[in-house]
């Protein structure tokens, strides 16, 4: 069966891309189980006092809402693709 571009297939492709992309970004940034962080802390040591201190800088760590959100959006797109299939079959 030859693959044919259609709205339904495009929606399924987008759903798959979202699912893989969202999960991939979450895994790549450390599979953080909390919420998304937009700054990260690196610990440094002051050599005179010996104090360990946090240095906060801008950074991105995807939180658990990231794969969950993209998975939810993927499900919506997949359902829309089914609806598009039905509409085409009826038409």
């Amino acid at each position: 069966m030859a693959f044919r571009w259609s709205l339904a297939n495009s929606l399924r492709g987008a759903a798959l891309a979202l699912l893989v992309g969202g999960g991939g970004i979450w895994l790549a940034t450390g599979a953080h189980l909390g919420f998304t962080q937009t700054s990260v802390v690196t610990m440094k040591r002051d050599e005179i006092t010996g104090i360990d201190y946090p240095e906060r800088r801008a950074g991105f760590i995807a939180g658990i809402e990231f794969p969950l959100g993209t998975a939810g959006a993927s499900i919506v797109l997949a359902l829309l693709s089914l609806a598009a299939d039905r509409r085409r079959a009826q038409g």
Binding site: Q37, T38, T49, G50, I51, D52, P54, R56
Partner: protein, 208 residues
């Protein structure tokens, strides 16, 4: 006669020197280098939260010869407290949680020391004092280590002409947010009741 006068002046100077050494030093904890910090962590079933605060000031009177007489007050600017998630940081500073607009500072006033032990330049003790968070003051006891670093201020500010001592305080302790009226019994699945605190701060006592 001259020799007698010289001896008296020498004795006076020696006495002044001794009394100057014996006097407690006042360390200022306002840190221009931004190194002084408090780290906090909360471990709730749904979310572990870690954050930092750097707006620290205050002063401590410390006598290396008499560490048990240490007194002082440390102030943490509540608006300096932050976490990695900006929305969570806004909630933290908001009316329901720390309400930084109404309560701009968390303070700890050290009143007495017990269980004082000295090892070299490090003194450890249980410091009893009053902790005020969100307008609620509680008596608490905190294990603190004091590290006295004589004549190290110049090295810290990269200016050998600046003379003075440093005092490094370290403390690990926990408090219960409900004790300070911070959403008692609420949202415990996301925000733990127990808050672990790690304090690492250095104060300076310049010498004239």
């Amino acid at each position: 006669m001259n020799q007698y006068c010289l001896a008296r002046v020498s004795l006076l100077l020696a006495a002044l020197g001794l009394s100057a050494q014996a006097a407690p030093l006042t360390f200022d904890f306002k840190d221009p280098k931004g190194v002084n910090n408090v780290q906090f962590s909360l471990d709730a079933p749904l979310e572990s939260i870690t954050g930092t605060g750097t707006g620290i000031s205050g002063s401590v009177s410390f006598d290396p010869a008499q560490p048990a007489a240490t007194k002082g007050k440390i102030v943490l600017e509540t608006k300096s407290l932050t976490v990695g998630n900006p929305m969570m940081a806004d909630h933290l500073r908001g009316e329901k949680w720390l309400d930084v607009a109404k309560h701009p500072a968390i303070t700890f006033e050290a009143l007495s020391l017990t269980n004082v032990r000295t090892q070299g330049n490090v003194v450890t003790a249980d410091v009893a004092g009053k902790l005020t968070v969100k307008g609620v003051t509680k008596d608490i006891k905190v294990p603190v280590s004091f590290t006295h670093l004589p004549d190290r201020l110049g090295a810290r500010v990269n200016d050998p002409k600046v003379k003075g001592d440093l005092l490094v305080l370290r403390a690990n302790f926990s408090i219960n947010r409900a004790d300070f009226g911070i959403q008692p019994g609420q949202n415990t699945d996301k925000v733990a009741e127990t808050i672990q605190l790690t304090l690492s701060i250095a104060g300076a006592a310049p010498k004239a």
